[in-house]
Symmetry: D2
Subunit: 509 residues, 4 copies
């Protein structure tokens, strides 16, 4: 059975909708950006979606090789900075028209006060042994970037201090005082380089988040730190059940998450001087583990559509974690589809959620309709673009059908108005590379032919029809299967065609 | 209502099926091969289908600039040959891994005995004023090609003398005697260069074709010409009705055409010395006009599927006319979709028939099933590939469903056998760029964005499922909408997967 | 023996020098822009030099297929316009970041009043039978371009009416009155479409040029036509001696040509209302024939260097005729080097003159030195760029050496100043593809390997040295062989290097 | 002053010369092959030189992530193998038409018996804790490769066991007995997978090399191991003096090295059963440190030319260490030119030695001349290719000139024979990117423009001349500056040219 609903959009409707979907995207650690496959996946993402910023860990981790030391003939130790790999990474980002949202971390081993590390790739998460050395590193790095890429360019790059210090795994003992010290000194060091830099924190996830936000702002107030923005993370699944290499999860009701985010908004707004301050969600996804098969499904795509329709309400931006599956936090994946965070699976195969982002990135204009399952905008030329999704909490559900009557302007009077209705459908039938891969036998090593086939099976179904207007209104009916996301465009169509061409005669219908 | 039929394929079945779909493809005149868009369309065709040979008109026409003359200080006229453009064209063919099936024609203006021309681009169709000059031109051209590309390579290129001399539009007065003279002299000239060249004719279309074939062979017998193969053309529509720039046609029942081709086969076989001689259909398509909207439809794709399943029965090869829509016989097209002969529309958009060729090109193996609407082959590795099509004579019809029980080998005893059933569907819903273009308002000038969209709407829908075998048999049910063509692959699937991965749990079904 | 001269550049020197080298470049007829090799040559030119505009003949000639006619059921003839090829050409130009300098011509055969044609490719050079039809064609074309590429973009494209009407070969009887009629009607038609278009003429070459310029301006005065700019051509060789396919010429002293151009300037300035009006040289080269081997030589490169240093004195722009050798005015060339007009030889091989343009395009800044054999500019960052050339009138001469003392700013006091002197040398020894091709035996068909080799032999020799300043001055000594062109850059060098690196120790010198 | 020598080559001369220059090339550790810049450098090398095999360390090191372990619910530990990165690396090699020369090593941390590591990137150099686990890893890896790339392909890949076990830094305590154990078990494990694999060792460098070779063969004899080939390394500089990041060295006389290699040859040949066994030099270069500025110089190029002319005398192959400068054994380089081993500097800039390899790779044919400073071969078509080099031991020296009289066949009697003499010159003047980089101020971060310039300054100067033969002999005079390498080709030239073309008239000389 199919649920049906009908809506009529009035002329001049204007509904609030802050769509900042393309502001930022997450990435595996910086050092992975040297890899060819990483760059290819990012190029694919940029070609179709075009994010403005990219954020990930490990800028100062040892594989980036920035921080080095040597001892001179007098036995005195000196720092020296190696920007060879940093340049390669930043060059490649800028060539793909994406800029870093700089996350300062983790600690170079040689500068660290301890041995504790996080992840398979062993990022050191202890405070610096010497804060002066840390600040010098930060300043040298920024100055180098400004020299290479120009001051005007680099001061636009937002800076975030560290990652999830509220978890002991990411910051020794989740020591709040120590983090505030790090933040204050780093903030000052950056502003000394150039006051135009925008610096934020505390980059926390949802553990004791209320306390951390509140204390952080109180600290800033006390120390008269004019922090530029607040950052936090947002994940919406329960604790995973682990089986072999994988973790299985249960989705949480979206409203729970929105309520949590609203709390952060409210806390900030309760500080007179920070009221209305930008919040950047510097990480979000359904699950927070990189081996969660849910990420690869159509269900994930539909759930994320809902998120993208709402996250802009309270937050300036929201950065999906991550663009691709070149990622090593829990080791190197064994198979191309392995529940990685990425929009793109290894082998360069777009996952369904990739298209959710593509569709929202194309949703530019004035919002004229918004519900929990649809958003529609009108462009300046009078055409419409919309998305309807059919989210399910357990992976199963029934088809839905949503009808919209849209006022279509610009039809010369006396002319028979027509419109073109274009749809792009991503659902379990039309665009389901995971199912295709499963049907192939879940191969761990893809041949070139298999990659090609999976890419062919990972594209939206594109359909279009031409329809007469009724009283200047376009009647658009969008059917969406369970876990589906459908993008549509409705535009006026010019009458006429080439001399002698008659489409009806061509197709005999 | 849906028609259903069921078939069971027995083990070791082997049905005759000569699939030579990729042997040769047609092209607009040689000079157009200099164009960038032409090369891009051909590259697309070669990447997906990979034809071995290419045949078109105009090798010796003036835009190729091969034949030149000058007068020396004593007033004596000399020939000189300019291979600048010929080299560019042949280089580009070989770089795309395709070889010419050389058609010798038309007449250089300076060498011609008359002014009569054919086409918008004015190919001269009169006999040479001087047959020695013609033979010298042929020989100089072949020798140049042999020097540039190597003897071994060039002697493999089949050679056809002229085009459709049985039409007065293509050969002055359709003068049979004159054509035989041309053939005999040209044949001798080529063999003088290298006896390994294979030379054929008379390249006729279906007008007085029986008479021409018979007389041609009688002539060869009389003159002791050991012609290497016979060539003819094959079109299957009625005379078009012209409206504006376009011609509308009615398809003929396929059997009519096959009967006509059988006659050619029978005539040849009635000559003792020519019995079994190769017939190359050097042109075929539904309609013989380059402005027939039918060519762009799904109906055409389904009709051609039928042709490709049969044409190899009587003929060595059959060359679709043409690969792309850079073509000027009736002038430059006004719109990207205009009923051109091509597999690819201008803008680089594959038409439905493109995929029919792609599917047949992938149909390599031993035939195990063949009807008027399906062909299935088994590959050496025990997997199957098949095509089912749903041809309609008037563009409308009902869906069909065809089921096949296929013996699946190589499943270790005791193991639960499974198979992967992959389908690629080209029909009016899934892959219909013409409809999309119509819905857009039939634009004559495509923007980059429109081209991208049309390409997205011009790809088969790829689906797959994994299914348990029953008694070692795979049950495959293929549903095909009216005018649809469905390609499928059935392969055994290895059990097992990565440690902890459970697809059913992932998708919740 | 070597000539030597020494110069010292004073601080704050500023010498007039209007370097508009990259404003416009010539091309073979528009229809050739469809060709792949044409596009590849243009891409090479744009990558290295980057012209802003491109101008050539044949926009309305029949191979572009724009103007078409049909007769309706009532026997009435209608015009219809086909922009299929025009779009392909303009798309390709804009994608290479170059815009057309539109030359309106020649006459579509169907619209022409006569049969007279010019060139191998038969451009019709007779007036329109019906001026209304002509004006409608012009307007339809401009409106189409504006719709496709945007008004803002297209109104920037300069428009020139016809080509060389002062020659009877290009305009029937060189009929001045008829041309003025064409100009006036066309001018009005264009301005009716959009007053922002800039329109000029009379596009003459140096035959009766004084008379034509004067009469043209008098006509404009009389008819109150506010013409936007004047166009003319500029060639600097004597009448060629023809041998076989080639024409051999003698260069004229440059001053002769400059004097001729000055006359045009003076005539214009003598009209009160046209004083100071822009002159665009819409064609220039040494020889005006496309089979003049001189074009391929180093001598040509050195001679053109002189031209580029002077032509901006009297003229707003000067468009070299042409960028590449895909060109058919006298037929298709028999060999890759054949004396074509192009900066690039067929096969994609840059000729020496290519580099003269590249060097001048890089010569951006404030002029600090200018003679008949050198130009030097200073950039804002205090570095210098210069060119020295060694022109010979008969192909032979002696080496020259020119020394420059250049004030080098920005060296911190107390620091040992150093500079980097970079040179790029194009002369008969270092960059002489013509000689290389001759040594190979002057092959007419180049293999891929030969093309690669010729490209390798067609690049400037790049050398650099590091030198101490003396009293804050850089001493730069440039030696130029006969027919050579040397480009140089002089920049301050930062002291220091990586820890432990000592270049002197590395090279042992 | 210039040294001159003259030689005459007799007809039918045939001199022994085993030129196997393109058999194998070295690489930084396998994991670096994932990087984009690595792949670009390798692509450049393959495009110009085209090596058949590639060999480097770290196949089993942790960044390749092949060896993994997990503990099941019963607490039992299991191995599992992850081939994700291995596939990426091997796919990329094969796509560049290069195959691995597999070096088995180093030890996965989890399998190792100790903690000792080598290099900045920490390759574990201790024996396996459990040899069964090691053998299982080797077998699983080979079986996976055979499944993915085909048995026929993979069994052709030579296999070497470990690297430089004669150094305690590379193999714990340089324990010979332990190495022999490793070799014997590994050898057996491989042959069990497929007897067609060819396996060799002991991969030693020149420390106690005589003893190691002798003991290794005695061990094989004793254990009846039919080893397939012997491998060793070859470096020719003294111990470096370290200053900052760099090491400065003194070259050794080449003859010292050849004598050392001859000893290895003699030892092997002294074993009856191993007499004539192939020796593969799996690493060679001048210096054995990756921060030796000598590697970037023209002096290195000339010295290596000498090596390439001799190393084939005693050895089957000789693999230069390495193709590029993406390399981390002593950390990440601070600057593009830093004395890395590579043929290509970071930024994609070919070093002079790159061209030495290119020239030798092009030197295919029958050797007709060989001295300590020149080699010449004759190709089947009668043309010649030669190299002359001017090696200096201390970086300074004088120019040399070598003349050769070469018999030129195939000139029809009565015809004036001519030849084309083509030279490509790499010396400190014509192709010296290191000097260019030094002149620029030794920048550590190259801009795109600087990279382009350095590439332009890193190409051989190509020149050619056409010369008359004397008595059927070509007189070729090659001048080589200090540290220069000159490649030349001499070929007969066909007389004639296009109608009317006269080169002498064109250039006026």
């Amino acid at each position: 059975m199919m649920q049906e609903k009908k809506y009529t959009v009035e002329k001049d409707t204007k509904i609030p909708f802050h769509n900042n979907v393309a502001y930022c995207i997450g990435t595996g650690r910086m050092g992975l950006a040297l890899q060819k496959e990483y760059q290819e996946q990012l190029a694919l993402v940029q070609e179709e979606i075009g994010f403005s910023h990219i954020r990930g860990h490990g800028l100062f981790s040892d594989d980036m090789a920035i921080y080095q030391e040597y001892t001179d003939e007098n036995g005195i130790k000196h720092a020296e900075y190696n920007f060879t790999y940093l340049d390669l990474v930043m060059d490649s980002y800028l060539s793909l028209n994406i800029r870093p949202f700089l996350e300062l971390g983790f600690m170079p081993d040689k500068m660290a006060s301890g041995k504790q590390t996080v992840f398979y790739w062993k990022g050191n998460v202890t405070p610096p042994e010497n804060y002066d050395a840390w600040c010098a590193l930060v300043q040298a790095t920024l100055r180098h970037l400004m020299e290479r890429y120009g001051e005007q360019e680099v001061v636009q790059w937002p800076i975030e201090v560290w990652n999830e210090p509220n978890l002991p795994g990411f910051w020794k003992d989740a020591d709040m005082e120590e983090y505030f010290k790090l933040f204050a000194l780093t903030f000052a060091a950056i502003k000394e380089v150039d006051g135009r830099f925008r610096v934020g924190g505390p980059a926390i996830c949802g553990v004791e988040d209320e306390k951390w936000i509140r204390c952080f702002l109180e600290f800033c107030r006390k120390e008269s730190i004019s922090v530029d923005f607040v950052t936090r993370h947002h994940y919406t699944t329960e604790v995973p059940e682990n089986v072999g290499h994988y973790g299985y999860v249960k989705l949480r009701e979206p409203e729970e998450g929105y309520a949590n985010l609203q709390t952060t908004r409210d806390i900030i707004d309760s500080f007179e001087e920070f009221k209305g301050m930008e919040i950047h969600i510097t990480e979000f996804n359904t699950s927070y583990i990189p081996n969660c098969p849910l990420h690869d499904t159509n269900q994930n795509a539909a759930y994320i559509a809902g998120q993208l329709s709402r996250l802009g309400d309270m937050n300036e931006s929201y950065s999906y974690w991550t663009f691709g599956d070149i990622f090593e936090e829990q080791g190197v994946p064994f198979t191309p589809f392995h529940g990685g965070f990425g929009l793109v699976a290894n082998g360069g195969i777009p996952k369904p959620t990739f298209w959710t982002f593509k569709f929202f990135a194309d949703l530019q204009g004035t919002c004229v309709h918004r519900t929990d399952e649809a958003v529609i905008v009108r462009k300046e030329d009078g055409s419409y673009r919309g998305i309807v999704w059919n989210m399910t909490m357990d992976g199963t559900g029934e088809d839905i059908c949503r009808s919209f009557r849209l006022p279509m302007e610009g039809i010369p009077s006396g002319e028979k108005g027509e419109c073109c209705i274009l749809t792009k459908t991503v659902d379990e039938v039309t665009c389901n590379p995971l199912k295709l891969w499963h049907a192939m036998g879940e191969p761990s090593s893809l041949s070139g032919e298999q990659k090609k086939l999976l890419k062919e099976g990972a594209r939206p179904l594109v359909e279009a029809q031409r329809k007469e207007l009724e009283d200047g209104m376009a009647d658009v009916c969008i059917t969406v299967r369970e876990n589906g996301v459908v993008y549509f465009e409705v535009s006026p169509v010019k009458a006429g065609g080439d001399r002698g061409y008659c489409y009806k005669r061509v197709v005999g219908k």
